[in-house]
């Protein structure tokens, strides 16, 4: 009996799970190697950033974002993205599906550009380069877990694995007091949020008797089908809310965003880029996972090629068979959960978005301003989730499309925010200031930078000729489509709020552009200490170019993401 269990575990781990875990393993190997290199005097001289870049490329190759691995009858095979069935790995802890692979690919691609940026700004050589690279890689590893989490334990683990290295990253500039202060606030706030979240998780698991997401969804449907008592519902709602607090912290959603401006101001611009892009993308992926996980039933046993399913799977299997019968009685047992999720995320999204945009108005520090901009953009992106959940019961394709649009926005947002923070880092190098007023006359002082940053800002607003428009338009289109199909007034409200917010955001982005292009240098503008180099300008142009070029053809991206999400809502 015991031996059988061990044998099953061995088969599950070595034959089913590890082959699909290649990218994560590569990252782990990279981390270990970097740490080992420091011990050997010969390899000490090697810059860890290069090793990190090699590791990221190796992970990308292992991930195979266009033809991912799948477990066939005889071992792992590479198949087309659209045919990849979601597979549970490590006895249901994680899930291996197209959405996770797409998010991981985006994260790795970002990390590549991020390492290049830190190489250019010499951020890593100023401090202990190996520490920095290992922290970034470790954080990304946590985000990988977040994006493929299938179990409450993994959700919590992922969030913590991603957060803890981030705290250290913020504090990397040891002599910077603000950095240390920001890191402390981040850590304490994170600890608080994690505590609340853990509490919520334990409440949910307690009521539903499981921590495995699909099983929890099945139990939830059973519970709703059998007239739950008021206290059960209350506990469930409280648990859901508290889980939401943890996610909101990672998303820096109102009212759990307070760490964000202080941390962004304290950390270096490069780390800000990391926090605002990688961390946010992973958090959104996790939000999608949790929201979708709780509101849709697993239609069929998620495992494809498992020899003897473990007990936990058997439960899911039996319940999944029983579910359609119940569906006949009450149209959809999960409808209340869906309503709850839509309303909760929708309200938080609108409030976050509006708050971020309004608070950005009076900022004088560029990084603080972009921190609020990040908050606002998190709000925009979150709006796609209620649209997807709301439309899922009517039209699954539209729901998938909404999630694909969310990922598309994340890709575009990657370029926009990376470009913006890179520009800030370059200006910091050249001028030594991060105040908006010191950007005056930038059109003359660094024309390439000024033009690229202006394009990026216009793209952040979402004005038509640039890629930001595509993202925003896609999100709004998803909401409009959902409204069309469900005619729920709440979605219309989301749409209007999103549109109004876009208009509000116009002002503060354009203020920077105006300062750079129209205002001329005055006496109290910080002088240029050194010109902006050609490599810096080249990097900026490289990052800005997709914003211009994507408008000509973004369909390939959409097609890839659509394939990736083709099995997410069953």
């Amino acid at each position: 009996m015991f031996y059988q269990l061990i044998e099953q575990l061995r088969i599950d781990t070595l034959q089913q799970s590890l082959p699909l875990f290649g990218a994560e393993l590569t990252l782990v190997v990279a981390i270990v190697l970097i740490l080992l290199c420091r011990m050997l005097p010969v390899l000490e001289k090697v810059d860890s950033v290069w090793l990190g870049i090699v590791g990221v490329i190796a992970a990308l190759i292992a991930l195979r974002p266009f033809q991912p691995w799948s477990i066939g009858a005889d071992g792992p095979v590479a198949i087309a993205m659209g045919q990849l069935q979601p597979t549970e790995t490590f006895t249901g802890m994680l899930t291996h599906d197209g959405f996770a692979i797409a998010i991981k690919a985006i994260l790795l691609f970002f990390l590549l550009l991020f390492f290049l940026l830190t190489k250019i700004t010499k951020l890593s050589s100023r401090f202990d380069s190996a520490d920095f690279v290992v922290l970034a890689l470790g954080s990304i590893l946590g985000m990988f877990v977040m994006s493929s989490a299938n179990h409450m334990l993994m959700i919590f683990m992922g969030v913590e694995m991603a957060s803890v290295p981030s705290y250290a990253l913020v504090a990397l500039q040891r002599r910077n007091k603000k950095g240390s202060e920001g890191a402390l606030k981040y850590a304490v706030f994170g600890a608080g949020a994690a505590g609340v979240m853990l509490y919520g998780v334990s409440l949910l698991c307690g009521v539903l008797n499981s921590a495995h997401l699909p099983t929890m969804a099945t139990r939830l449907s059973e519970l709703f089908a059998s007239e739950p008592s008021g206290s059960e519902v209350l506990v469930l709602a409280l648990g859901g809310l508290m889980l939401g607090v943890g996610l909101s912290f990672k998303l820096s959603a109102f009212p759990f965003h307070f760490w964000c401006p202080d941390v962004f101001e304290g950390a270096s611009a490069e780390v800000d880029a990391f926090l605002s892009i990688a961390s946010k993308t992973a958090a959104l992926a996790l939000l999608v996972r949790v929201a979708v996980g709780f509101t849709t039933l697993p239609a069929e046993p998620a495992q494809v090629a498992r020899a003897t399913p473990p007990t936990i799977e058997q439960v899911a299997f039996v319940d999944a068979e029983a579910a359609p019968e119940k569906a006949l009685q009450s149209s959809d047992p999960l409808a209340p959960a869906r309503k709850f999720v839509v309303l909760l995320i929708g309200v938080v999204a609108v409030v976050t978005c509006t708050f971020g945009n309004l608070a950005a108005y009076a900022q004088t520090n560029v990084k603080r301003l972009l921190a609020y901009s990040t908050i606002a953009h998190a709000g925009y992106m979150m709006m796609a989730v209620p649209a997807a959940i709301a439309v899922a019961e009517v039209d699954k394709n539209s729901a998938r499309q909404a999630i694909a649009y969310l990922a598309l926005y994340a890709v575009i947002y990657l370029f926009m925010n990376l470009g913006a923070f890179a520009a800030i880092a370059f200006v910091r190098e050249a001028v030594g200031s991060e105040e908006i007023k010191d950007y005056a006359g930038m059109l003359k002082r660094g024309p390439t930078l000024a033009i690229c940053l202006t394009l990026i800002l216009v793209s952040l607003i979402g004005l038509p000729p640039l890629a930001g428009f595509i993202g925003k338009f896609a999100i709004f289109a998803a909401i409009a489509q959902a409204w069309n199909l469900t005619s729920s007034p709440f979605l219309m409200f989301l749409l209007i709020a999103g549109g109004l917010n876009t208009a509000i955001s116009l002002f503060y982005y354009l203020r920077i552009a105006k300062v750079m292009t129209i205002d001329s240098e005055s006496d109290d503008t910080a002088p240029m200490q050194r010109p902006i180099g050609i490599i810096q300008n080249g990097y900026l142009v490289l990052v800005t170019a997709p914003l211009v070029l994507l408008l000509f053809n973004w369909d390939f991206l959409n097609a890839w993401l659509l394939e990736a999400v083709s099995h997410i809502i069953t």
Binding site: V196, F249, P255, F256, D262, F340
Partner: protein, 841 residues
């Protein structure tokens, strides 16, 4: 590449595109190219000429032209030739003869005289422009012997003209002082040279003309037709600063539009009833069979028929279009319960009765008049482009352009386009249309010839001569002489370009157009003088008449005799009209000889009338007179029947379209068009040859008597026929008449419109605008500044202050932040629990 069906379209397509490439190169880089531009243009057209000649060689190797024909009884039945590609193969399936297969490409057409002869044609598809309910408008090609001949003629003459223009236009390389344009301050206009631009337009002109020739459908023809018109507009108006030049360019353009209007009507008639523009059958889906929609106009209008003669038959589409009312009646009268398919078959059964006017109690030939309208419409376009009466007025003015342009316009390109289109479209023309063509040609030939007698401007004489010769061609085509008309088109192209370039050489030397200021120039410029004499002899058609044994002469002799023979033949069947046509043509021949020699004598013979000009006169540079010599040789020899079956006549004969191998009668049977081969009978050739010879000699003799020997005094004649002289000098009062009839009424109407526009519409609009402005001013003050701006400012101020207030929340105190986690979670819980009661219930 090796088979002609591949190589011919490739070579000719290349010949079309080369000038276009040259145009674009000069268009883009002309400013920096300077003289190189001319070299590029000349090189391009010369290469095109090489392509065309190669294509001609391939053609002749593949399809040996038929032997010279004599009157053959149309009854003789022989094996149908099988050498052509699409058309023959496709027709093969239609009427079953005993020669199904085993005949390969390249077999000679030994029985080409046969009435069943189907000319070799290559049709094909290049690019589809659009599809409308299954009917296609495309860029495709139609290559037959006529195409080949036209390509050779156009590219060859254009090459000569390009070389010549390289010398003639050299002044344009530097800054030019135009002595004919006087500015307000009394000085002459100075402008930068436009050498490259001239060659740029020339290249475009050649491209347009070649595209027109290779066009495989009437729509494509129309496009290139308009391009030719636009190019002629650019070139005639090349000296745009001169009032006369810009007016002439406008005139040419506008008069041509009048003709094109008719052509559009023709196009519409064809498209609406037949749903195709293609000349030939194009096998679009490549299955080797012809689907109904793959038929071209020619096979629709001239199906093989029972006797295989390809007689003109009104196609079903036109009959149905014409009998629309009858069809509607049938639909209305249909028994209830009749299916659509039944009704359709009933209607189709009626079609042949309607076509032949045999329907019960209804002798109307439905659709026939639609066919006539289509034909006359197309011919209207030709009237404009080929300067036929009544639209001939633009051509004489067109010589305001530089002389090389005149040479090109008057010989191989613009005016040739009209005649070419009549020849190309010949199978579509109903007999009634042919009569119209013949009448137009006859009138034009008389008008042109008569005015040329009194003109004193050397280029004007040539211009009216062109008008007259074009009339000849149209007359010949109209009386059924397809080969005669085309033949004259070719020979005329050579000697008229020669004559124009000679006149250009003279003008280049003496800097005036007036023949009254020339004289005696043959001593100063012998090349020009004697090549021009060759041109005069050729256009007069000098040669030994067949009655005197071996018929032999200049190129014009052959074509003119062919045309006169056909007119004579026409007279034998239709005495009244035939007589008018024949005598007009014969008289015209005498007139032609007279004015040509008058011109030559006034220019080159006798004593110089203006010593100053004579002293400065000189022979033109070699680059100009070498083309003259080349063209002179061609003008003499192009039509010589010394190349066996490969002579010009034979090749042209090979291009004779289907269905022109039998006699044709008009609908009421009143007019009969006899088949052209009958005109080669000796009983026609002998008298006609003598009469033509006599006419030409009379003209030359009269001219010599008046201007060489001075036996007769021209001024005497002028005084004696004063009213006639005045009439002719004023060009039959055409310009004045058009001025009174069309231009002035148009201007009056325009003035009325302007008055209405200014006094009524403008005032109304101004009033409206004023009131709108008043309203807007009020609106701005109250609504915009008060309400909207106020609202926006209020909103902005509120937003900003809200932002600033929100900033206050960010206190920076960590303790407060952690508090907010709890507070936030609690607040959300409270918020949600209000609602959660809703779903718990």
């Amino acid at each position: 590449m090796l088979t002609p069906e591949d190589s011919l379209p490739f070579l000719l397509g290349l010949a079309v595109l080369l000038p276009l490439v040259s145009f674009f190169v000069i268009f883009l880089f002309g400013k920096w190219l300077e003289q190189l531009g001319a070299h590029i243009a000349t090189g391009a057209i010369a290469a095109a000429a090489m392509c065309s000649l190669t294509a001609a060689a391939i053609w002749m190797a593949q399809h040996a032209p038929p032997a010279t024909h004599h009157a053959h009884p149309a009854e003789s039945h022989a094996v149908i030739s099988q050498s052509s590609v699409h058309l023959t193969a496709l027709h093969d399936g239609e009427h079953d003869h005993d020669h199904a297969d085993g005949l390969v490409h390249g077999e000679h057409d030994e029985h080409a005289d046969d009435a069943h002869f189907v000319p070799p044609v290559y049709t094909g598809h290049w690019y589809s422009l659009g599809r409308f309910y299954g009917s296609e408008v495309a860029i495709n090609y139609y290559i037959d012997a006529l195409t080949i001949v036209m390509f050779c003629v156009v590219t060859f003459i254009a090459t000569c003209i390009h070389f010549y223009a390289g010398g003639y236009m050299h002044e344009e390389l530097h800054e030019v002082t135009d002595h004919e344009v006087t500015l307000a301050d009394g000085t002459h206009l100075k402008r930068p040279g436009r050498y490259h631009r001239f060659f740029q337009y020339l290249s475009l002109f050649c491209f347009s003309m070649l595209g027109l020739v290779i066009a495989g459908n009437i729509a494509m023809t129309f496009v290139f037709w308009e391009l030719v018109g636009a190019c002629s507009y650019f070139l005639i108006g090349f000296y745009v600063e001169r009032q006369s030049a810009s007016t002439a360019a406008n005139k040419a353009f506008i008069v041509n539009r009048v003709g094109d209007f008719g052509m559009l009507i023709g196009l519409m008639a064809i498209w609406a009833s037949l749903a195709t523009f293609n000349f030939g059958d194009v096998d679009r889906n490549g299955d080797g069979k012809l689907d109904p929609h793959e038929h071209g106009l020619f096979s629709l209008l001239r199906p093989a028929g029972e006797n295989g003669l390809h007689e003109l038959r009104v196609p079903d589409g036109m009959v149905l279009q014409g009998a629309k009312e009858r069809v509607e009646e049938m639909i209305v009268a249909a028994q209830p319960g009749t299916t659509t398919a039944d009704l359709e078959s009933q209607i189709l059964a009626q079609v042949s009765l309607w076509r032949d006017g045999k329907a019960k109690g209804d002798a109307t030939h439905y659709g026939y008049w639609l066919l006539v309208i289509a034909g006359v419409g197309i011919f209207c376009g030709c009237v404009g482009k080929s300067a036929q009466f009544p639209l001939h007025v633009w051509l004489p003015d067109a010589m305001e352009g530089p002389t090389p342009v005149s040479a090109l316009v008057h010989s191989a390109t613009m005016v040739a386009a009209g005649v070419f289109l009549v020849a190309r479209f010949y199978p579509v023309f109903a007999p009634e249309v042919l009569l119209v063509i013949a009448c137009a040609g006859c009138i034009t030939l008389l008008i042109g010839g008569s005015i040329a007698i009194v003109a004193t401007d050397i280029k004007r004489v040539l211009a009216y001569s062109t008008v007259s010769q074009l009339g000849y061609m149209m007359l010949a085509l109209g009386v059924g002489g397809w080969a005669a008309g085309v033949m004259h088109l070719v020979t005329h192209a050579f000697f008229k370009s020669l004559l124009f370039m000679c006149s250009g050489s003279v003008i280049h030397a003496v800097h005036t157009n007036e023949m009254t200021e020339m004289g005696g120039l043959r001593k100063k410029m012998p090349y020009t003088a004697y090549t021009m004499l060759v041109g005069c002899l050729a256009i007069a058609g000098v040669g030994v008449p067949s009655a005197l044994g071996i018929p032999f002469g200049f190129s014009g002799y052959y074509s003119k005799d062919l045309m006169l023979e056909q007119a004579y033949l026409f007279r034998s069947a239709n005495p009244l009209w035939g007589s008018i046509f024949f005598y007009a043509a014969t008289g015209g021949a005498a007139v032609t000889a007279f004015y040509m020699f008058r011109m030559w004598y006034l220019t080159f013979a006798g004593e110089p009338r203006d010593e100053h000009r004579y002293k400065h006169a000189h022979e033109s540079p070699r680059v100009m007179y070498v083309p003259l010599v080349v063209l002179a040789v061609m003008a003499v020899a192009i039509a010589w029947p010394i190349f066996g079956n490969y002579g010009l006549t034979n090749v042209i004969e090979q291009g004779r379209p289907i269905g022109l191998w039998s006699d044709m009668a008009s609908l009421d049977g009143g007019y009969v068009w006899l088949h052209e081969s009958k005109s080669h009978a000796d009983e026609i050739r002998t008298p006609v040859g003598l009469m033509a010879f006599g006419a030409a000699m009379t003209g030359i003799f009269l001219a010599s008597a008046m201007y060489l020997w001075r036996v007769l005094d021209p001024t005497d004649a002028r005084r004696t026929f004063a009213p006639v002289y005045k009439f002719l000098v004023h060009k039959w009062w055409f310009d004045e008449a058009y001025d009174v009839l069309f231009v002035r009424p148009a201007k009056v109407i325009a003035a009325c419109c302007v008055w209405i526009d200014k006094q009524c519409i403008d005032r109304l609009l101004h009033g409206l605008a004023w009131s709108v402005r008043q309203i807007a001013r009020c609106g701005e003050a109250w609504v915009d500044q008060g309400a909207i701006d106020g609202a926006i400012n209020w909103f902005a101020a509120k937003t900003y202050s809200t932002g600033a207030a929100l900033r206050g929340m960010q206190t920076g105190s960590l303790r407060q932040y952690v508090m907010f986690i709890v507070v936030g979670a609690l607040a959300m819980f409270v918020l949600m629990s209000f609602w959660s009661y809703g779903f718990a219930r």
